[in-house]
């Protein structure tokens, strides 16, 4: 199928964007799940949530240790210290590993954001990959952080060392931004990537719910004005139900298809047009013709 390759074609741009974030994963049943790579914002958000939990855990641990110390005085001091040291060690190294290997297979932050770690090969995620992925965090995050904190605390004022530490942290911090798959060093080593598995709700179908079919009729030329991309954009406008955008879109479409004489409200007009356009495009689809967007003409 020949597509008009206009650089200013927003639909094509959008498709290209989609293609960039989608990754093929063929299930054993032979269906492509076409997963989306999690973007940098989601990754950062999930990590911050997890890190917050770790910090809260550290605070709780410190309070417990201090409580022990005050309750038992010098006798329980060593026990308190040991609990603190071991607890921090476990928290720091195994929070991510155990959460990812546990029953729910994702850390709290990742679950909240709706992303998860997957093996790049499509095979199941193994324990060794999870371990390798998360031990790398030591170099990527804890090492530069503790280095910077130690430097700041000692107030040695060694700005060169601080700069080196910042540079080191920066390389790993921004590593995911410099590759298409948003891999961090740990992903690279473990053969994993992070994909989106959001919870989507299924609302009502926009057509087929009205008691009586719409009285508005459109000619074939009027329906040929748009393709699937515009249809789905219209779907999003209708689902969002915002009066302003509905009015704007209705004006645009009325202008494009010369339908100023259709005497119904904007919402009704758009619903009727959506239904007619979708029926027409889906019918074509059944005959193997997918019209991608308004530039896509046979």
């Amino acid at each position: 199928m020949a597509r008009s390759a206009k650089p200013a074609n927003y639909a094509a741009f959008h498709r290209e964007q989609e293609r960039r974030v989608r990754r093929t994963l063929i299930t054993p049943e032979g269906v492509d799940l076409s997963l989306r790579i999690a973007d940098a914002g989601q990754r950062a958000g999930a990590f911050m949530l997890d890190f917050l939990i770790i910090i809260l855990g550290l605070v709780a641990l410190t309070l417990i240790a201090l409580g022990l110390l005050f309750a038992g005085g010098i006798a329980t001091g060593p026990a308190a210290l040991i609990i603190w040291l071991l607890g921090w060690f476990l928290l720091r190294n195994f929070y991510f590993v155990l959460m990812a290997m546990g029953a729910r297979a994702a850390t709290f932050g990742k679950r909240t954001i709706g992303i998860r770690v997957v093996a790049r090969s499509g095979a199941r995620l193994t324990a060794d990959a999870v371990i390798a992925r998360n031990l790398m965090r030591e170099v990527e995050f804890y090492l530069p952080i503790s280095f910077l904190i130690a430097n700041a605390a000692q107030d040695t004022g060694d700005s060169l060392a601080t700069l080196a530490g910042l540079g080191w942290a920066g390389i790993f911090l921004f590593f995911p931004l410099f590759n298409r798959d948003r891999l961090r060093a740990g992903d690279l080593l473990a053969g994993t990537w992070v994909v989106q598995t959001p919870r989507r709700s299924l609302g009502r179908d926009l057509i087929g719910h009205k008691a009586s079919p719409s009285s508005v009729h459109f000619t074939d030329e009027q329906l040929d004005a748009y393709g699937a991309f515009e249809l789905q954009t219209l779907e999003q406008v209708l689902r969002s139900g915002q009066g302003e955008s509905i009015a704007t879109v209705a004006d645009t479409i009325r202008g494009k298809i010369q339908a100023w004489d259709v005497n119904v409200s904007d919402a009704e007009f758009l619903n009727a047009y959506y239904e007619a356009l979708r029926n027409r495009l889906e019918r074509k689809l059944l005959f193997g013709k997918r019209r991608l967007d308004k530039f896509d003409r046979e």
Binding site: L33, A129, L135, D205, E235
Partner: protein, 333 residues
């Protein structure tokens, strides 16, 4: 005529299958919220059927429908169900057992070449540390950081040094020291592993520095005629601990090696393969360090006899070697 056909397919799909999708969604949500074990037998029986039905709905919807919300919903649902249906199904305990019985020794065996190199580097470190400090005590402070030395430096008297080897009065303080050493050593081993990707250079440095530290302390005690006793004090847990650090270094080196010399594979694939095998070995290293911590915290305070200390240290080493390298029957099934 054809219009009715189009109307039929996409909407009929939804009318016919929507109940199934909702049921699958409820099961997946329950599994994600709690755990797979929270599912009833009925749910478990239904799950694969519903999952395959949703997958085929997705295929049909992609070909016949332009309802974006429907397709995104089905894509999301299928992906979540897929990870659950084809996810890890072995129980944690079985996986645990398999790790000790098979995965860990196999991963360590796979690293034998790197282990030899790492062990060699460590020994070089020990020798260098020993001879540097033996020649000029000024090296000691730069080889052994203050918090690791714990007062054992060249200002200490022979008597106070002897005390650090055999004293049991400050058991609690020593336990703290042991815990500190355990977390410190684990962190060092994790670093030795994780820094391996930088062509293994930082790993090599870490190994030599660790060896140098032990060598420097040995030189300090030897100067006071306590060399043999110190070696025993180190041996009881050190055979396990230094072996663990060596293995961590070997894990790091294998990653570095695969990055520098990927062979037929791409660097990425090569690094991934060795990274995963090394990850398993690393989980084992942490276990070894825990054992070392126990030997250090308890064994060393309770056992004051040099011969016994040597005996335990050597026995541990033999046990580790047997565990890792003794040939064993292949697993079946």
């Amino acid at each position: 005529m054809s219009s009715r056909l189009a109307d039929a397919s996409a909407r009929d799909l939804r009318a016919a299958r929507e109940e199934d999708w909702r049921r699958l969604e409820r099961i997946v949500v329950r599994a994600e919220r709690k755990s797979p074990r929270a599912l009833s037998d009925e749910d478990l029986m239904e799950l694969p059927v519903l999952y395959r039905s949703a997958l085929s709905s997705l295929s049909v919807a992609r070909e016949t429908s332009l309802d974006l919300e429907l397709i995104t919903y089905l894509e999301g649902l299928c992906a979540r169900a897929y990870f659950f249906v084809y996810g890890v199904r072995t129980s944690p305990w079985r996986r645990f057992a398999r790790f000790f019985a098979h995965d860990w020794p196999a991963a360590v065996r796979g690293l034998w070449r790197e282990t030899l190199v790492a062990g060699g580097l460590m020994i070089i470190g020990i020798l260098v540390g020993y001879f540097l400090v033996a020649a000029d005590p000024i090296w000691y402070d730069s080889l052994v950081p203050g918090d690791m030395a714990g007062g054992r430096d060249f200002n200490a008297t022979t008597e106070s040094l002897r005390k650090t080897l055999y004293d049991t009065h400050g058991v609690s303080m020593l336990t703290i020291f042991a815990t500190f050493l355990f977390t410190h050593n684990s962190q060092v081993s994790i670093l030795a592993f994780a820094l391996g990707f930088a062509f293994g250079v930082p790993t090599i440095l870490l190994l030599i520095i660790q060896g140098g530290m032990a060598g420097a302390m040995l030189a300090l005690f030897a100067k006071h005629g306590l060399g043999v006793q110190f070696a025993g004090w180190i041996m009881i847990h050190g055979s396990t601990e230094l072996f663990a650090i060596t293995l961590a270094g070997a894990a790091g080196l294998s990653i570095g090696w695969s990055v520098v010399f990927p062979g037929e594979e791409s660097r990425l694939v090569s690094a991934t393969r060795s990274g995963k095998a090394a990850g398993t070995a690393m989980a084992g290293v942490i276990v070894m360090l825990m054992v070392a911590g126990l030997l250090e915290g308890l064994g060393r305070q309770l056992i004051l006899n040099d011969a016994m200390r040597y005996g335990i240290g050597v026995t541990m080493l033999i046990l580790w070697f047997a565990f890792f390298y003794l040939p064993r029957a292949e697993r079946h099934g």
